[in-house]
């Protein structure tokens, strides 16, 4: 037993997600040191909360990216916004409607994902263009529905999303639950095997009898459902749905997949890395914040870091 634990520890650095967490730790202490020791707990809480939103959308994006080159879901921000506006308006601030509102949000995700997939399948167009054109539609639908009004979420829902349970933010618990389920799906279920096979070689996967089209459909629907769940939670967390609430999540969802050590060429992904990437993205931003850097420098450094990580990661693959 001790032996196996030791070997697990030795193998840690070979895990693709290992470096994301190392970077997280460094970023955490770099920020922590700067705030002169105070607020370390608050920083951790904030990181865990905000990272959970990125992690949930990131996991959906991860499944899509695992399907191989050209597979990216660009409709995530629009789906988030649409699900948030529709469900918040539907709930109208009534606590009794919370569950129905969640249901509606998920139905929106289901619909959006199905629509995305139908475009890909029926029009034979690359997923990038399919999800892009669909996102235009979702965006308009959200604008039309919302009319610029900011509807407050039911109080109980707002309390839940901002609250915590034994010191752990509720959002983090949700995020970890999603991650655990996804981990089982990816690593232990036949679906995970199929996604990975399709991502490595779609033709070989089809010829080995894998229902490639079904796998394709499920990943795109899954991504949209997770995006709509995030939209619902994020809108409740931040006190209402805004039309641009999803905007930054397009970049984040792809970035966390890459930082987390998943192969952008497909077929090889992992769930822990998504959380590592999500935490890192938040911590880097807050680290740069605490250095007193403005939004501009922060953005520049974030971009540079993403490119540097990708360049380094591809080099690692080259030497192996």
């Amino acid at each position: 037993m001790a032996n196996s634990i030791a070997s697990t520890v030795i193998q840690l650095p070979q895990r693709p997600w290992f470096w994301a967490f190392v970077a997280c730790t460094v970023a955490y202490f770099a920020t922590f040191a700067l705030t002169t020791g105070s607020g370390g707990g608050a920083l951790l809480t904030a990181a865990l909360t905000f990272a959970s939103f990125s992690a949930i959308v990131g996991i959906g994006q991860m499944f899509v990216i695992t399907m191989g080159p050209g597979n990216v879901d660009l409709s995530i921000p629009a789906t988030m916004t649409l699900a948030a506006t529709l469900s918040l308006k539907f709930m109208g601030g009534e606590t009794s409607m919370i569950v129905l509102g969640l249901g509606l949000a998920l139905v929106v995700g289901l619909g959006a994902g199905t629509f995305n997939y139908m475009l890909i399948r029926l029009l034979r167009i690359p997923p990038i263009i399919a999800t892009l054109s669909a996102s235009f539609l979702y965006q308009s639908l959200a604008i039309w529905w919302n009319r610029g009004l900011r509807i407050k979420p039911p109080q109980a829902l707002a309390d839940f999303t901002t609250g915590s349970f034994f010191g752990i933010p509720n959002m983090t618990i949700v995020g970890i639950l999603v991650a655990v389920v996804s981990w089982i799906l990816l690593e232990r279920s036949i679906f995970g095997r199929w996604v990975s096979a399709v991502g490595q070689n779609r033709r070989a996967a089809r010829l080995s009898g894998i229902p490639v089209e079904a796998v394709n459909a499920i990943t795109f629907i899954g991504s949209a459902v997770l995006a709509s769940l995030t939209g619902y939670l994020l809108a409740s967390f931040s006190g209402g749905a805004a039309l641009n609430m999803g905007a930054e999540y397009l970049l984040i969802s792809i970035a966390v997949v890459v930082i987390g050590g998943c192969s952008i060429a497909g077929g090889n992904s992992n769930v822990p890395g998504i959380w590592g990437g999500a935490l890192l993205m938040f911590l880097v931003v807050s680290m740069l914040n605490s250095y007193g850097l403005g939004a501009g420098v922060r953005l520049i450094l974030t971009g540079t870091i993403i490119i540097a990580i990708v360049a380094a990661a591809s080099g690692r693959k080259g030497t192996a």
Binding site: I190, S196, A197, L207, S208, I210, P211, A214, G267
Partner: protein, 493 residues
């Protein structure tokens, strides 16, 4: 033939290119193992050998595309000096014509010549390009009917090959002195192929040199002044064409006759074969327990027919524990192997739906299945969790066989599965196929090697995407298959 003896008898003294004890290794694989050869102006060298004998590696070394790991390659410059490297190769007028490799499908015919002909540029380049390609096409293939303004992607396969060849022969800043033709006639019909052979002869008479690689021995005999036979990365025979006969050439390549295996299958076939289990719109049909061969020249629609049949019998939407058909890939990299996975994951993939426990993969059952097949077909590895790419090609192929045979599918489709597989593995695979057929499985087996096809119970010969003959029992002979493969022979019969 007159020409052959003349040129073949006295090769000129100064060679265009000289290889001296060239070795080429890709990792552990030795593709070239001490190759020495020279090619002089006026020579047309027929380079022949089985798949994987090292022909394409040799060609890539000759054109400078690959730098050998041992030995030297020297080119003679027009001014009499020598040098090596791909740049020198180009300035010496060494050109390669590989099938489909140098064309850009998004460009027009005249535009695509701009890529290899680096000197075409500046104002009016398009006119120059058009002139060059048209003139060359007219010279090599009179009456070709190809519009230089047509997009390459819109041309037929044969037309693309003609453009490819014409690009190789076209005039340029450096005149072509040595042209390497790799299977140049694979998609050409016989009339056009004859045009090409005539041009090659004329080109050599005028002082050019050609390396001619073809599976069609008739063509090689027709055009070559010298024939070099390759086997296992070595040149094992190099003689003027006149010194070979078709039979001596085949013997030199190391033809493996398996008449005993043939006899074995034949005798038991009567008791083994049952009712018809499949019949496709293409005209393919097979019965229970039957081994059905698909033959004909490579690229005449056999692989497509198999893929079409497989797709029609397996859904992209539903998954099933009991598939009707499984597929054994021959082009392992493209159609079979999942490169990031272990041997075990590759092996169990098709059977996986039957190895579930409450929706999750039952790892114990998966391991048991893998161990079982490791024993059964002798996959040479100490750990089934090793990456699939750690195996040799032959062992990877065994894993792909196991992937298919582990499932319960009554029909197994095989797309030239013995490509690049060593003889020992082949024998094991033949035995396995026979056993499975005995147990009632039906095999659809496309093979490029005739000695495999003649083992089948029934053979469909393909030509130009269609079935040109169906042979049964005693009719399955190399002669009959060849006869049905070639257009010109059919007119006579």
């Amino acid at each position: 033939m007159q020409l052959v003896t003349e040129a073949g008898g006295s090769p000129p003294a100064s060679p265009l290119v000289a290889l001296e004890d060239v070795h080429m290794a890709f990792g552990a694989v030795r593709a070239l193992d001490g190759v020495s050869l020279t090619i002089s102006p006026g020579e047309c060298v027929g380079l022949i050998g089985h798949n994987g004998a090292g022909k394409s590696t040799a060609v890539n070394v000759i054109n400078g595309g690959l730098t050998p790991t041992g030995g030297t390659v020297e080119y003679m410059l027009p001014d009499g000096g020598t040098g090596s490297g791909s740049k020198i190769a180009r300035t010496c007028g060494v050109r390669s014509v590989f099938q489909e490799l140098s064309l850009c499908p998004n460009l027009t015919v005249e535009e695509t010549i701009r890529v290899p002909h680096r000197d075409i540029s500046g104002f009016g380049w398009r006119r120059t390009a058009r002139k060059r390609i048209s003139r060359s096409l007219d010279q090599v293939f009179p009456g070709h009917g190809i519009d230089p303004g047509a997009t390459v992607g819109d041309l037929t396969l044969a037309e693309r090959q003609m453009v490819e060849i014409a690009t190789g022969f076209a005039e340029g800043s450096v005149p072509a002195r040595l042209i390497i033709l790799d299977e140049p006639t694979s998609s050409l019909d016989s009339a056009v192929a004859t045009q090409l052979l005539d041009h090659v002869r004329a080109f050599c008479t005028a002082g050019g040199a050609v390396i001619f690689i073809s599976h069609m021995l008739g063509e090689v005999f027709d055009v070559a002044t010298r024939i070099d036979v390759m086997k296992d990365g070595k040149i094992i025979a190099s003689r003027p064409t006149a010194d070979f006969t078709q039979q001596s050439l085949i013997d030199a390549m190391g033809h493996v006759a398996s008449s005993d295996a043939e006899a074995r299958t034949r005798t038991d076939s009567k008791t083994r074969i049952g009712d018809e289990v499949l019949s496709t719109p293409d005209g393919l049909s097979a019965r229970r327990g039957e081994i059905v061969g698909l033959a004909g020249l490579a690229g005449h629609g056999q692989a497509e027919a198999l893929a079409r049949f497989f797709m029609s019998r397996s859904a992209g939407i539903r998954h099933t524990k009991a598939p009707e058909v499984t597929f054994v890939a021959g082009d392992r990299g493209r159609d079979g192997v999942l490169a990031l996975w272990s041997i075990l994951q590759n092996l169990t993939l098709t059977k996986l739906p039957s190895l579930l426990n409450r929706g999750l993969v039952d790892r114990k059952a998966e391991n048991a299945l893998a161990q079982d097949w490791k024993q059964k077909i002798g996959i040479r590895t100490d750990n089934m969790n090793n990456p699939i790419l750690s195996l040799s090609g032959g062992n990877q192929q065994k894993v792909l066989f196991a992937r298919s045979l582990a499932s319960s599918a009554p029909i197994v489709v095989m797309d030239d599965p013995m490509r690049g597989v060593d003889v020992g593995t082949k024998q094991e695979a033949y035995d396995m196929i026979r056993q499975e057929a005995e147990a009632g499985r039906t095999f659809l087996w496309y093979s490029t090697e005739t000695d495999e096809v003649v083992q089948c119970d029934r053979v469909f010969v393909f030509r130009n995407g269609q079935i040109s003959a169906e042979l049964i029992g005693e009719d399955i002979t190399e002669e009959n298959i060849l006869a049905a493969s070639f257009e010109m022979r059919e007119a006579a019969s």
